[in-house]
């Protein structure tokens, strides 16, 4: 990473949902602000800006990370996935998204992007994650609407569906 100083704006280049993007950033710019306001990827939400609520969770090189605690400059060269990258094709839904709809696992939807990303990272890493592991992953997210049960149900249903579709991964 180049050495940054307060008054310079530099280009940050990274892969966002499979596409190479470049944006200008001052050193203190948060990744959430870069994604949302510079790149218009507003699906990632900000609920606390201090790392507790999980709404801003994105994947950086596959790992779930709090975009609100990440500087935009840290994204240089990284592979970033946000909720906008979960859709298999426009108008379609991944099994995880479809399960959320089917199980009414969202109400206002403000927390949802972070949760989807977190679960996607978990299932990619561990397709057979236990319910306990799913709950642990979800415990990094606050949802004020649903009472969580339908989120757990949707996660379990999506997991079953994904394993059926890709038995090799099981």
């Amino acid at each position: 990473m180049p050495k940054l100083n307060r008054d310079t704006r530099t280009d940050v280049t990274f892969t966002l949902n499979g596409k190479k993007v470049t944006a200008r950033s001052e050193p203190r710019l948060l990744l959430t602000d870069l994604l949302r306001h510079e790149l218009g990827a507003t699906g990632t939400h900000v609920g606390c800006e201090h790392g507790v609520c999980g709404a801003c969770t994105v994947r950086i090189d596959g790992e779930p990370a709090r975009a609100c605690l990440t500087l935009a400059a840290q994204a240089e060269g990284a592979d970033i996935q946000t909720v906008e990258g979960l859709e298999p094709e426009p108008g379609g839904m991944s099994p995880l998204q479809a399960a959320f709809r089917e199980h009414f696992a969202l109400q206002c939807g403000f927390c949802t992007a972070g949760i989807l990303i977190s679960l996607k990272a978990l299932f990619d890493r561990k397709p057979g994650a236990s319910e306990q592991e799913i709950r642990e992953q979800l415990s990094g997210h606050l949802c004020r609407c649903t009472g969580y049960t339908p989120i757990v149900r949707a996660a379990l249903a999506a997991q079953a569906q994904m394993r059926e579709e890709e038995p090799r991964n099981a």
Partner: protein, 989 residues
């Protein structure tokens, strides 16, 4: 699920939500996602670090000179360009959205910086110098009533802003003749349902038309529109208010965004460009709104068998620093329902509203319900305990009987429908109360702490817009003119291709209104829900709306969906006439189904819905004479039952009344004090269920909020008004690990007063669950006095002292607890290689102080014993600039001196006092011993009290370490101070 989906209609089925496709793919349109007008500026708000202080001066020179800054707005500007917000009681007091002459709560806006972007605005906000004179604060509502209490608003003369007493039936007679008088005293805490999305406002001002255009994630009620327009000194039609299509939860809280509409309107006007402000989480927790905290004494006149003949309420409602619209509505929302689910004919009520140095209150899920039902349902348990009765029997004996509906309560509510005894008995059987009792017996036999709690509540919905006027005397009401009703509105429009759009002003915040409206209208017109487009956000310049519009008091299903049904029925009746013409039959013979209009008697005789629907556009001349048009129908519906409070102060405060009966089994860990819910059963009668999965979602969501309120959540204040819950790590919201799945049961008795038979359902568990859980905990640990939240440490404390009696509730102690400002004491010593005289000189030398005060840049000597310094200090991730003042007292050269220091900055303030003693250890060395007491307040105190003690110790330690180094180095690593410092800062010293 207990509901069988109907086969012949969409309403009643859990169809997928039409909202979800966008929300699941990142295409939601929340306020911060929407494009803004080019040139829109960003605002940051400088807020009060003090609970109570006079503002001597505000110097914005440096801020105005900062990069990118366009304007700094202060209370003077706001007073010049607006008028005080309307206060809902008759009182000589002003209510401004920003501090004018003084600040009255931590987080109160003091100045607004408008700059090119938010980062620059925040930079500049730190450069505003505000000179405060700190005043004594009062945070406890009872203390606020004391004659010696600091008065927040001198024009009021005291902190009591309103008092009313009511009497219904013959409470005195009932108490005089009662076999028992049984009472509870409760201090209901402050908490908030805090949505994950914070407030946001984008405001513009057009000087040519003297008109404001404001976008805000406001939720209603739109009576607030009048408050904002009046404050901005424009007619209602010059205050266009729009809401974004998506909103990230509200639960009442986003009603409280309205003062920021005024502030951003003024900011835009002064800046000459649109201004956008998005609240951050600290601002939200400290200064959005919360529920009221309330002190209640509730006494019952009770017969030997547990039947209650009278209730006497004495309520002290704490509305915070200002009485903001619609307060004191929290206190009056339940006024018709003070007797809950019980048939109690005699009631007396004394209501006092007080102001304290805390954030102003506002709407919050359950609105007034938790504050009533917590005392009432704790009282029911107390009666059972005291009279040695089964708590379930006490509930049974007092329930309103099934044949009594519609039932008029003593205080004036007309309970629409219900069969409370049947719902209760079903819950007992289907929820397995017997099994829980068995579990309790077994657990107790093994010495474990297991308790059962229950709660029966009536859940009001669709507020009467006139209930709040119960706060006025009948005479005052007479003068002001009656207020009543609750206008709901829905518009159905048909476009030239014959497709159907629905428009309501319900401003959903995640509840799925659009889906349910599509179901309702699809049923009426024989279409698929997916064929119907629904808009539910509001633009006051274009839409049909009224003061009752918005998303609160659980009014959607009973009122808004009902209005949509009426509109759909109205347009269908016209379309039947049109279709009858096209099909050559009678209107009564026309059926709309499957996207077609057809003859009932000859189904082959049909035509597409679109053809019928579009005729009014393309060939109005073909419409039958009875039909004017079928292009747009707007229905306004206000239920006649919602009349104004009468001369005896009886008020039907809400249209619908659901019933809830909850019970639960809770096990308390005898060591940690943690309460674990074994099973929670919640039985609901919310009338006709329109969408079972959404009803369950509302029940579960409300339950999770209530669980937080019962066990974890409290907006904590120090005695000086410092706010101590400024992050989501301090204000603990339940996660997936804490929320169990409740057993949800339904017993439907349709409301005769609503078009679809539905009643509200979103708030009930916030009313029933806190009391139900507390009753179980009380049963488990055998105590009478329990105030929320029931944190493990609180329960463990109660377990440690179970003999404490009910006479003196722990309330006083709780508020007066150490703290106030976070206090911190410590002591230490260091040995330095210098003489006492040399050390003494250093302490009085600005150059030395400059070198040894941590983070100091520039020490100025004001007098021999008075210094000022600019310092930069970091607490965890929060780094800030402060102004420090250091004074020396009690000089005993060269033996001892007292140092008193204060620091103030944008991030907060601190003050401390330390006594330094110098003693000769021989061989030219000096031992420096110190003791100190320090306190910290403001933003830094709100964002992680846990970090502070360590951080302050480190800073104080650094000072002495630097002094030791400066004096010629410390005497090896063995000294207490250095060893401790190393421990504190991880060995980096």
């Amino acid at each position: 699920m207990t509901v069988n989906p109907p086969a012949d209609r969409w309403v009643g089925r859990s169809v997928p939500r039409i909202e979800d496709a966008a929300l699941l793919t990142g295409r939601g349109r929340f306020i911060d996602d929407l494009p803004t007008h080019a040139g829109t500026l960003a605002a940051a708000i400088l807020r009060s670090p003090h609970g109570h202080a006079a503002i001597r001066s505000i110097d914005a020179t440096a801020a105005l000179a900062s990069d990118g800054v366009v304007a700094v707005v202060t209370g003077d500007d706001v007073q010049r360009l607006t008028r005080s917000m309307t206060v809902g009681v008759k009182a000589n007091v002003e209510c401004w959205p920003i501090a004018t002459d003084r600040v009255r709560y931590v987080g109160e806006p003091v100045a607004i910086v408008v700059a090119a972007d938010r980062y620059l605005a925040e930079d500049a906000a730190e450069r505003i110098a505000v000179d405060y004179e700190i005043l004594p604060a009062v945070v406890d509502p009872e203390a606020a009533l004391g004659s010696d209490a600091p008065v927040l608003h001198p024009s009021l003369g005291s902190n009591l802003i309103n008092e009313r007493s009511f009497s219904y039936g013959d409470p005195d007679g009932a108490f005089a003749g009662a076999a028992h008088r049984i009472a509870v005293e409760i201090a209901y805490p402050r908490n908030s349902c805090t949505p994950i999305e914070t407030y946001g406002v984008v405001a513009g001002y057009d000087p040519g038309e003297d008109a404001y255009d404001i976008l805000a994630n406001f939720q209603g009620p739109f009576s607030i529109h009048a408050v904002v327009a009046r404050a901005l000194k424009v007619p209602g039609n010059r205050m266009r208010l729009r809401t974004p299509p998506s909103s990230g939860g509200s639960y009442g809280i986003k009603q409280g965004v309205f003062p920021y509409m005024i502030l951003m309107g003024v900011a835009a006007r002064i800046a000459g460009r649109p201004v956008k402000w998005v609240e951050d989480r600290l601002e939200h927790l400290a200064a959005s709104v919360s529920a009221t905290n309330r002190v209640t004494r509730l006494e019952a006149a009770v017969e030997a068998d547990g039947r209650i003949t009278a209730l006497a309420f004495d309520q002290i409602e704490d509305c915070g620093a200002h009485l903001r619209a619609p307060e004191p509505a929290t206190l009056y929302r339940m006024h018709g329902n003070m007797t809950g689910a019980y048939a109690i004919a005699n009631v007396s009520i004394r209501n006092r509203v007080v102001l304290t140095n805390k954030t102003p209150t506002g709407l919050n899920r359950g609105f007034g319900g938790p504050q009533i039902y917590y005392p009432l349902e704790r009282l029911m348990q107390r009666i059972a305990r005291q009279l040695n009765l089964d708590p379930l029997d006490v509930v049974r004996r007092n329930l309103i009987p099934a044949n009594a509906f519609p039932y008029r309560t003593a205080t004036g509510a007309l309970l629409d429908s219900g069969d409370y005894p049947a719902a209760l008995e079903r819950a007992v059987v289907e929820g397995g109360l017997g099994e829980l009792v068995e579990r309790r017996t077994n657990a107790r036999a093994k010495g474990r702490l297991y308790g059962i709690g229950m709660a029966a509540v009536v859940e009001p919905s669709v507020s009467n817009m006139g209930y709040i006027t119960t706060v006025l005397t009948p005479g005052e009401r007479e003068k002001a003119g009656p207020k009543n009703g609750a206008q709901a509105t829905a518009t159905i429009a048909i476009d030239p291709l014959g497709s159907v759009s629905v428009k309501v002003a319900s401003v959903p915040q995640g509840q799925g209104h659009r889906t349910v409206l599509a179901q309702v209208v699809a049923d009426a017109l024989g279409l698929e829900p997916s064929a119907i487009a629904v808009v539910a956000d509001v633009d006051t310049a274009r839409d049909a709306w009224s003061i009752a519009s918005g998303n609160y008091s659980s009014r959607f299903a009973p009122a808004v969906a009902g209005a949509a049904k009426l509109a759909a029925d109205r347009i269908r009746a016209k379309l039947e006439a049109v279709a009858a013409g096209q099909l050559n039959t009678m209107p009564a013979d026309v059926v709309f189904a499957g996207g077609r209009a057809a003859s009932r008697s000859n189904p082959d005789n049909g035509v597409s819905f679109a053809r019928v629907a579009a005729a009014a556009h393309w060939a109005p001349g073909t419409l039958p004479e009875t039909v004017d048009q079928t292009i747009r129908e707007t229905v306004f519906w206000t239920p006649p039952e919602l009349s104004a409070p009468n001369g005896s102060d009886e008020v039907n405060s809400s249209l619908c009344h659901g019933f809830i009966f909850d019970f639960c089994g809770v096990e308390v860990d005898a060591v940690t004090g943690e309460a674990r819910i074994d099973r929670y059963v919640t039985m609901h009668d919310c009338g006709t269920i329109l969408h079972p999965a959404m009803v369950e979602g509302q029940v579960r969501g409300g339950f999770a909020h209530a669980l937080g309120a019962a066990l974890y959540e409290e907006y904590a204040y120090g005695a000086d008004g410092s706010f101590q819950s400024g992050t989501l790590a301090d204000y603990l919201i339940p996660t997936v690990m804490e929320v169990p799945e409740p057993v949800i049961l339904h017993h439907e008795t349709p409301s005769p007063f609503t078009p679809l038979g539905a009643k509200g359902v979103g708030e009930g568990n916030c009313m029933s669950t806190p009391a139900c859980i507390a009753n179980a905990v009380a049963d488990a640990i055998g105590v009478d006095d329990l105030d929320l939240p029931l944190t493990p440490s609180k329960i463990a404390g109660l377990l440690a002292g179970p003999e404490r009696q009910a006479k003196n509730p722990p309330r006083q102690a709780r508020e007066a607890q150490p703290g106030g400002r976070r206090k911190l004491t410590g002591e230490g010593a260091a040995e330095v290689a210098a003489s006492r005289e040399a050390v003494w000189k250093m302490l009085l030398d600005p150059a030395t102080l400059e070198a040894i005060i941590p983070g100091s840049h520039g020490v100025t000597q004001v007098s021999d014993t008075h210094f000022t310094a600019d310092v930069t200090l970091g607490v965890g991730p929060v780094k800030g600039r402060y102004k420090a003042e250091i004074e020396l007292f009690d000089l005993d050269e060269p033996n001892a001196v007292t140092l008193r220091g204060t620091t103030t900055g944008a991030l907060g303030f601190g003050e401390g006092e330390g006594r330094i003693t110098l003693s000769d250890t021989g061989t030219g060395k000096t031992r420096i011993a110190y003791t100190y007491e320090a306190g910290i307040g403001g933003k830094v105190a709100s964002v992680g009290g846990r970090l502070l003690d360590g951080a302050a110790r480190v800073v104080i330690g650094q000072f002495f370490k630097a002094l030791a180094n400066h004096a010629g180095g410390a005497n090896g690593p063995g000294t207490g101070l250095l060893a401790r410092l190393k421990g504190l800062i991880g060995g980096r010293s």
